[in-house]
């Protein structure tokens, strides 16, 4: 595999290999010197057409721990806003000898175009494209679920996960549905009908409009960020009503199983999809997700920039 564009492209073996490798990378964190020489002399470009400090920093830390040279390229606007075109940016990076391009873009499919349009030779890693996918977020979510529910190298087969909120606009949801189902988990999407895509019944997972009905049966609940502005497009009547029906607050959390956990990709809207008390509860693993994000991204960079070949041979 050369690129990571969609979790739909990952076989069970690929996914498990990435998660196992991430577990090995995690061991590095306990060392005093948190650095491997693996990618010395390789150049990783963080190409961000959209602000996302946390994802960019996570990739930067991951690449640096593998000793890669890191270039942060914050493109001012995409060609939609008449900045430099994606193609010209790509040609520039190609000329500079980038080995991997980590791309965040507001347009769905932009990383796919970058990987397939004959503009560059580099490995392309999708760091979030429009409302399409965010594969490394799903991988870090799976890693976190595994660590808490199945043991470091355990299987997620049969683990029940509810993904709650704005599925329609969520790249995190799409990547998680593919990956978690590949790993054998049982996924339930929970949202008002307006925030579910047409055709979602073909995604192979369960769908519910009623958060309370499904909550007690879940091993994990993944809350999605919901933008208050969606109210203005009539996706829901008010933030208060949304919060009442689909927000995770303390009374609702009390109906969850005692060992079940809460994930959120961040940044959170406290008081909207998640109450402050729930966000700060020990069973909410947002901070750990951030840590795991570095391990997973190290694993992805390591495997795509050569490690995958070694492990295959």
């Amino acid at each position: 595999m050369k690129h990571l564009l969609s979790t739909a492209d990952l076989s069970l073996e690929d996914a498990v290999l990435i998660l196992d490798t991430a577990a090995e990378m995690a061991l590095l964190t306990d060392r005093e010197v948190k650095k491997l020489p693996t990618l010395r002399g390789r150049t990783v470009v963080n190409l961000f057409f959209e602000d996302s400090t946390r994802t960019r920093i996570s990739f930067e830390v991951a690449a640096k721990r593998l000793s890669a040279d890191v270039i942060n390229f914050a493109a001012k606007g995409s060609s939609i806003s008449k900045g430099e075109s994606l193609k010209d940016t790509a040609l520039t990076l190609q000329a500079m000898g980038a080995d991997a391009v980590v791309v965040r873009h507001p347009s769905s499919g932009a990383p796919y175009r970058l990987a397939h349009a004959d503009w560059i030779d580099a490995t392309v890693i999708n760091a979030g494209d429009g409302t399409h996918e965010h594969p490394t977020q799903a991988l870090l979510d799976a890693y976190t679920l595994r660590a808490h529910l199945a043991g470091p190298t355990g299987s997620l087969r049969g683990v029940r996960v509810a993904i709650v909120g704005d599925v329609l606009h969520s790249r995190v949801a799409r990547s998680n549905v593919h990956l978690l189902q590949t790993l054998g988990a049982k996924v339930t999407l929970v949202a008002p009908p307006t925030l579910l895509p047409i055709g979602v019944e073909q995604w192979g997972c369960a769908v519910s409009y009623d958060f309370d009905e499904v909550l007690a049966d879940q091993d994990a609940v993944m809350m999605l960020r919901v933008q208050g502005e969606r109210m203005n497009q009539a996706f829901f009547p008010s933030t208060l009503e949304y919060s009442r029906l689909y927000g995770l607050d303390t009374p609702r959390m009390a109906t969850m199983g005692t060992n079940s956990i809460v994930l959120h990709p961040g940044p959170m809207n406290r008081g909207m999809e998640i109450s402050a008390d729930v966000a700060d509860d020990p069973r909410s693993l947002m901070v750990e997700q951030v840590t795991n994000g570095v391990h997973v991204r190290m694993a992805v960079l390591y495997l795509l920039l050569g490690g995958m070949k070694e492990s295959a041979s």
């Binding site: 193609k87 873009h105 769905s108 397939h116 399409h132 047409i198 055709g199």
Partner: protein, 427 residues
């Protein structure tokens, strides 16, 4: 001096000599008996020159994408002896001055008849009627009015437009797209758009406007033409309207007869078009509607764009694809070869009907003695492989690159003058 199309098979029937003089078909005689300069057309299918109701020539304003001259070359090579130049130029063709400019450029080119389409509203703004009467009475003699690219979505304005053009025997060609249902829309709405994360373009956004407009056309007893019908539901609505005797006509584009939404999985904007590519069942309904006459015409929606507007990410790309030079081949592949349309049917859908709708007196005649000699000779068995750089259009945005398509236009006579001979432009 006379020309003889020797051995041509009108509508695929028995071979004859078609004798042409002074711009008219003057005689139809057994093979070998025609007198004059011979154009060898043995075995070729003879059809009346094709008429396109929906062409974007981009001039004035976007001469980097296409000009009247380059578009006319593409039209001639595609077998079109008449094209209708859409109004969404810069400036918009919403005055007599602009439509006359386009018309004169067409006359100067002389390769095909260029009929300008006038805008319905000023600047395609959808708010104020353009000077339709001035355009109708200009040298361009405009009869088709359209805000194509934008929908005349205001119901009251649409009603007034339909009423107003009755004074000039005009027709409103509606781009049926409910704007609020298609905000930021990128592709057909369905399971696939959800997976690809591309904002959906629901079929109902097209069908609801068509349903409203046929009822408006009935209410004010005027003529409505529906541009680029793309969904099975639209075919049903139009079939229902025709059943009620409503004066509505409709067109379908070649690409909507052959390409499906699955192509969007490549995220290659060469497949980005408005209305979007739909599903296989839509294609089936469109072909059936075209076969049974619910859909009256095939129109290309030839939409040239410079390379940079397609060599980018999907959302940033322009909508549209080239069509003039491949239209007949797609119709042969999707309608003639499967037995859905005879050659006479092709002549009706691609020549007579569009000429009637556009009120183009000189076009769409049957191949009979006395008709204006707009005649094309087609080799239906020849197969060609499409390459973008071989096209006469100034742009390269054809979705058919690498496909093997049947049918080549060998000769074209426009008002008796050969514009294409042996697949080559004559000048």
């Amino acid at each position: 001096m006379s020309l003889v199309l020797r051995g041509i098979r009108p509508y695929g029937d028995d071979a004859v000599d078609l004798v042409i003089s002074d711009g008219l078909i003057v005689d139809i005689v057994p093979v070998g008996q025609g007198q004059g300069d011979v154009i060898e057309a043995g075995g070729l299918v003879g059809l009346p020159g094709l008429v396109d109701l929906h062409t974007h020539l981009r001039e004035p304003g976007r001469e980097d994408a296409e000009t009247v001259e380059t578009g006319s070359r593409a039209a001639a090579l595609g077998g079109f002896t008449c094209i209708h130049a859409m109004a969404n130029t810069t400036p918009v063709a919403d005055t007599a001055g602009v439509v006359e400019q386009v018309w004169r450029l067409g006359e100067r080119s002389g390769r095909t008849q260029v009929r300008p389409v006038g805008a319905v509203t000023v600047g395609l703004g959808g708010e104020q009627l353009a000077e339709i009467g001035a355009m109708a009475n200009s040298a361009a003699q405009v009869r088709v009015f359209s805000d194509d690219g934008k929908c005349v979505h205001d119901a009251s304005l649409m009603r007034r437009s339909l009423e107003y053009v009755k004074a000039f025997d005009g027709v409103i060609a509606q781009h049926a797209q409910e704007p609020r249902l298609t905000q930021d829309a990128q592709m057909n709405e369905g399971a696939l758009s959800g997976q690809l994360g591309l904002a959906g373009w629901p079929a109902v956004a097209e069908e609801s406007i068509i349903a409203r407009d046929v009822l408006l056309a009935q209410h004010v007893d005027s003529r409505l033409h529906v541009c680029h019908v793309s969904t099975a539901g639209s075919v049903d609505v139009i079939r229902w309207a025709k059943g009620r005797g409503i004066n509505v006509t409709a067109e379908v584009c070649p690409h909507h007869l052959i390409l499906t939404e699955e192509l969007a999985t490549t995220y290659d904007p060469i497949y980005k078009v408005n209305p979007p590519l739909r599903t296989a069942s839509d294609i089936e309904a469109l072909r059936a509607g075209l076969a049974d006459g619910t859909i009256d015409v095939i129109a290309t929606d030839h939409a040239p764009h410079p390379h940079e507007d397609k060599d980018c990410e999907w959302a940033a790309a322009a909508f549209g694809m080239l069509g003039l030079e491949t239209a007949l081949s797609i119709v042969i592949a999707t309608m003639v070869e499967p037995g859905l349309l005879t050659w006479r049917g092709v002549a009706e859908r691609m020549s007579s009907a569009p000429a009637r709708i556009g009120r183009v007196r000189e076009q769409g005649h049957d191949l009979v003695v006395g008709a204006v000699a707009n005649v094309i000779a087609v080799d239906p068995s020849a197969v060609r492989s499409i390459t973008a750089t071989d096209l006469a259009s100034k742009s390269r945005n054809t979705p058919y690159v690498g496909m093997q398509l049947p049918g080549i236009v060998e000769h074209v006579l426009y008002a008796g003058n050969p514009t294409v001979l042996h697949r080559q432009l004559t000048w």
